[in-house]
C-alpha cells in the first residue's frame, strides 16, 4: 500500500487521504494463529486495513489463504491471536446483529419458510411492522410469490437471496459476504452481482466481500484488497475508479483486471 510512483493504470490510494467518509471498520496489526498437530498454523500476519462507511470492498485471494478467517475475525466469530478490530471505534468482541454475516446459501434455516427466515431477526418488532418489513425485503430481492416456500423447494440462487434479505431486514450497518455466490452457476452469479449492487446502491451499507474471483472483484468493488498466500498479508490494495454501471469490455476495466492478474502472478492467456 504505497503512495510512491503509481504504476500505470493502478492507483493505490494512501490510507486516510482524500476520502471524507468516516472509518467504519478498522483492523490493526491483526495476527491469527491456530494450534495444530505439527506446530502453529499461521493464517494471518500483521494485517492492517481500514474500511470507510458505505464502501464496498472485496478481499481477494486464492482458496485457503485466510481471507475467510479475516472476515470471521472482523465478524466476531473468531478471536485473533493478537491485534484488534474496531467498528465505529468500538472493539469487536463477538457477533452482533448490527453487522450481519451472509454465508453461502447453506446458512438459510431449512425449517423456516422464506417469510420465516427473513423475519428471523425481527422478533422484537410489533407484528404489523414485522410483516411490512418482510414484505418489503421479499419484494426487494425478487422473491414475491415464494413467501410460504421452504428452502428445499428453492434453487441455489433463490436461497442466497433469502439469506441476503434476512440479513438486510434487520437493518445492519455492515454486511459481510463470504463467497456468497460460490455455489451458483456463472450465469446466476452475474445476475446476483447486479442485484447486490442494486441493493447496495439503494441502502448504501458498508460491505466486505470475500472472493477468489478476480472478475467479481473488479465488477463489484470500490477497492480490492489483494491477499497473499498463507500466512496471509495484504499484498496490495487496488482502487477501482470506474463508476457503476461498469462496462465489462471497457479498456479501463480490462486494465485493472489485468493488473491484478499480474499482481498475483498469473498469465492472462491460456
Amino acid at each position: 500500500m504505497t503512495a510512491a510512483a503509481p504504476e500505470p493504470g493502478v492507483t493505490a490510494r494512501p490510507a486516510g487521504g482524500g476520502d471524507a467518509r468516516p472509518v467504519k471498520v478498522a483492523v490493526r496489526d491483526l495476527t491469527v494463529r491456530f494450534a495444530a498437530d505439527r506446530g502453529d498454523l499461521r493464517v494471518l500476519e500483521h494485517v492492517d486495513l481500514e474500511v470507510r462507511e458505505g464502501e464496498l470492498i472485496t478481499i481477494l485471494g486464492p482458496s485457503g489463504c485466510g481471507k475467510s478467517t479475516l472476515l470471521n475475525v472482523i465478524g466476531g466469530f473468531v478471536r485473533p491471536t493478537s491485534g484488534a478490530v474496531t467498528i465505529d471505534g468500538e472493539p469487536v468482541t463477538g457477533p452482533d446483529p448490527r453487522r450481519i454475516f451472509v454465508f453461502q446459501e447453506r446458512g438459510v434455516f431449512p425449517w423456516l419458510t422464506v417469510e420465516g427466515n427473513i423475519g428471523f431477526g425481527l422478533r422484537g418488532l410489533p407484528a404489523a411492522d414485522r410483516a411490512a418489513r418482510i414484505r418489503h425485503y421479499v419484494k426487494m430481492v425478487g422473491l414475491a410469490g415464494f413467501e410460504k416456500a421452504y428452502p428445499h423447494e428453492l434453487s441455489g440462487g433463490m436461497k442466497q437471496r433469502v439469506e441476503v434479505a434476512r440479513a438486510l431486514a434487520v437493518g445492519p450497518d455492515v454486511l459481510y459476504l463470504d463467497e456468497p455466490f460460490g455455489a451458483l452457476d456463472s450465469i446466476t452469479r452475474l445476475t446476483m452481482r447486479a442485484e447486490l449492487l442494486r441493493l447496495w446502491q439503494a441502502e448504501r451499507k458498508t460491505i466486505l466481500f470475500v472472493t477468489h474471483d478476480i472478475e467479481e472483484s473488479v465488477q463489484l468493488a470500490d477497492r480490492i484488497v489483494v491477499m497473499s498466500q498463507r500466512p496471509a498479508r495484504i499484498r496490495r490494495i487496488v482502487e477501482v475508479d470506474i463508476p457503476h454501471p461498469r462496462d465489462l469490455s471497457a479498456p479501463r476495466y480490462l486494465e485493472l483486471r489485468d493488473a491484478i492478474f499480474a499482481e498475483i502472478g498469473l498469465a492472462h492467456q491460456i
Binding site: I100, F109, G121, H152
Partner: protein
Amino acid sequence: MARRLSPATRLGLPLAAAAAALAAWAVAVEATGTAVFPSPLEVAAGIGELARRGVLGAYVADSLRRVAIGYLLALAVGVPAGLLFGFSPLAARIAEPVIQLLRPISPLAWIPVAIVLFGITDAAAVFLIFLASVFPIAVATMTGVHGVPEMMLRAGRNFGLSPLGLALRVVVPAALPQVLAGLRIALGIAWLVVVAAEMIAVSSGLGYLVIDARNAGQRYDLVVAAMLMIGVIGLALDLLARRVERLRPVRWGFARES
C-alpha cells in the same frame, strides 16, 4: 437403477412374492409331512381361534400397552439426557462409557435384576422395554444436536440470540428430523423387545403367546400366528412413525435437495 417401476408393478410384485412364499411354505409342509410345523391355513385358523377365545384383542392391547409405557418413559428420560449430552461435551464424555457399557447388555440379561426390583409383574416387563429404548433415544437426540451445522449456529448468534434462544430457535428445529428418525428406530427396538420382556412369566401378550404356546402344548400354529401379528403391528408402527416425519415442520429434513 434408472428405470422407474409403475405403481401397478410396485404393488403387484410384493403381492406376487408373498403369494409365492405362502405357496412354498404350504408345499414344504406337505412335502416334509411334518406333524408339528403348521401350514398357512392352520396358522390362519389359529388366529381365528384366538379371536374366538376373546384373547386376540386383549393380547395385542397388553403388548401395545407395555411398549407404550416403556417407550414413553424412555422418551421422558432419554430426550432430555440426549439434549444435555448434545449441548455439553463434558456431560457427553462423562456419560459415554456408561452408555457404551450398558448398551450391549441384552434386555433378557436384565430379567433377573428386573424381577428383584419389580417382582414378577408388568412393571418388570415395562422396565425391560424402557431399558432397551432409552439408550438409542438418548444417543439419537445427542447425535441430532451435534449434527446441527456450525454455519446455522453462527447465523443464530449473529442475530443476537442468547444461548437459550439459540438452543430453542436454531438447535432444536435443526436437529428435529434426525432425532425423529432415531426415535422411530427406537420404537422399532421397543416393539422388538416386547417378546423378551414378556418372557418374564407375565400371562398375556403376543410375546408371551410365542413362548407359552410352545411350552404349553406344542401349538406351533399359535406360535407362528403370534409371530405374524408381531410383524404386522411392528410394520404398522413403523409406517405411523414415518408419517410423523412427513409433517410440515420437519419434512424438509427428509426432502431430497433440488
